[in-house]
Amino acid sequence: MIDNGLLVQMLLGALLGLSVYLPLSAGQLSLATPAFYAVGGTLAALLSTRWSALGATAAGSLPPASFLLVLILGGLLAGGLAVVVGQLVLRLRGIYLAISTIALVEIVRVAILNLPFTGGAVGIFSIPQPFSEAGGYLVPALAMLGLTAALCHRLETLPLGRAMGAIREDELAARCMGIDTTRVKLIAFVISAVVAGSTGALAAHFLNTWNARQGSFDVSVTTLAFVILGGSRTWLGPVAGGLLLTALPELLRPVGDVRLVVFGLVILLGPVIFPGGLVTTGLLERLGRSFVPRRHSASEVR
């Protein structure tokens, strides 16, 4: 039912979901993820096809070490851009931030389309492949998802993560508690951009080709849907949402022409049926109960 190619796409979806989740966990609704995704992908596509030092062969293969380097560079460029952009846009609140980040996505899209070295509408194609088949991408995609997830999980107990949570609950209160809100928000924004940039670099190779259409307003809202449908209160929500919503249109193929209608209905009804998303903190607390009932009740009493 789900082949390895689709599985890679699902993992990329989960990564993009986490990229939207990170600023949101600091209370910032940023839809800039596709812009950083596009920047990372474009850089990767350019480097792998043009930079001979990476060692791409004429047969179209790429040494794994070069691939890794490109992933890192894609993330770094996106992160660098985020440092600049973040300082400008993070002063905005709520919907103004959301719309200005959509504006960023559109500006980046038009720029990639118009720059003289990005291939215009056709884009960049015949990107060298580090693996001989799609399944090979599972390893780096899983590794990136694992790393990002571990970071998010770790953040929950770190001062930075707590500060992000505090800003989400009440930014003013957080500032009064002595939290450098500007810095914390920026860090969350930059991490999100690095994740998106590296994901773009991976996607460019996986897709064999890259063009301006890859980062668009559509991607902004789809990735937001990953987070909202999956649950925005824990990092597992966007992961589950990204995996599920990426797979869904493919799983719906048997219903034929109405598959996108059904897909739309799922997005429409999902938040109505699961108001907190699929993965809620309550669910995790129930899951986390001790298996030994005695100890469990003891802790309740204490």
């Binding site: 082949d3 599985l7 056709v122 088949e133 997830a149 609950e169 903190t281 607390e285 129930r286 899951l287």
Partner: protein, 433 residues
Amino acid sequence: MATAQATPSNALCSDRLARRRRGSLRFAAVLALGLGSIAWLGRATDPATRPLAGKPITLGATIALTGNANLYGQDQRAGLTIADRWFREVGFVEPEGSAEGLSLRLQIEDGGSDEPSAIAAFNLLIREGVVALIGPTLSQQAFAADPIPQRQGVPVVAPSNTASGIPQIGHFISRVSAQSSVIAPLSIAEALRRDPSIRRVALFYAQDDAYSTAESSIFLKALKARGLTPVTVQRTQIAENDFQAPITSALRHQPQLVVMSVQAVAGGNMIRQLRELGYQGQIVVGNGLNTPNIYPICQRWCNGILIAQAYSPELDTPINRAFLRLFREFHGSQPPPQITAQAFTAYQVLAESLQRLQRKRALDSVTLGQARARLMDELLAGRYQTPLGPIHFTPDGEVVQSRFYVAEVRMDPGGRDGRFALVREQQLPEVTP
């Protein structure tokens, strides 16, 4: 949040947090396990080693039935469905006996208008054991999806990819859609034949559309070959339909000829708005407008525009007559668009090649993988009488089509319907583009 409000004691709070984190890890473990088993179950299951016999042979098609390119996909679906029906009823090569023992099935999957959907659809069809693939609709999708069948040795015939470099993706990739480099100059030549005094040319093209950008550069080259440089170049967007600003800006340069490379509906609008805003000179349009879909859009204003065609509904050959008859049975009075004829042709060349293999008994007791390889060789070796005219392939898989047409749109007095009246049929020498 609940944790922040309902916490009578710190101990309980930290206990719940710990529990939540434990739950997260457990959930993550389950998720990882699930992903692991999906990866295990979904590992490459190429059915290439299975014997071919015992099942109807399946042709898979991936076309854009959703998303922005859906109009093309729907026109392509019409062509494929008609071809499938035609094959069932008559068979392409010989009326009797040719399809003996060859039962063919067509499976159409929506490839959306984006790269990931096209990849997923190709993967799905390959896994289900199709002998060859038709599609995808857009060139950008082809650059993403074609490497997959190339790696797995599945023949692909592209019905509508015109970007350069597509057949060069590999041995198994071919196309029946001629590149605009061959076609586009013909209409420019016709316009200049009609009015040799033309000096001032305006060029419009949709800059975010792969097809239009490629075609516009061909137009530029053709103009340059005649010593003309556009006095203005206006870039529009593929989804744009209101051209008030670019047109008024272009008209300031008083062009004598307008050349446009945009997609069908946008092109219809551009023609109408040019005329409404007072432009009276000649208009040459790109191949994207070779569809009757433009008639209702530009109405009486369509009259007189020049277009070079890879397909002319007015071509009088047995196969085109049959194609027209079947198309009209399904779609009423209008002639078929070029993209429908090309989709029909993609199915036809594959079906005829399979027929030839069948007759040579080359499909007996082979595996699917062997059948795919033989089909590719047979496809490239054959010559075909198609609705587009006679075609064959270069060893690369590039189509060689020798007959092209220049047509002029003539609208009915009511201005709602019209036809592409054949002005000139061009027999090009058989060179690879």
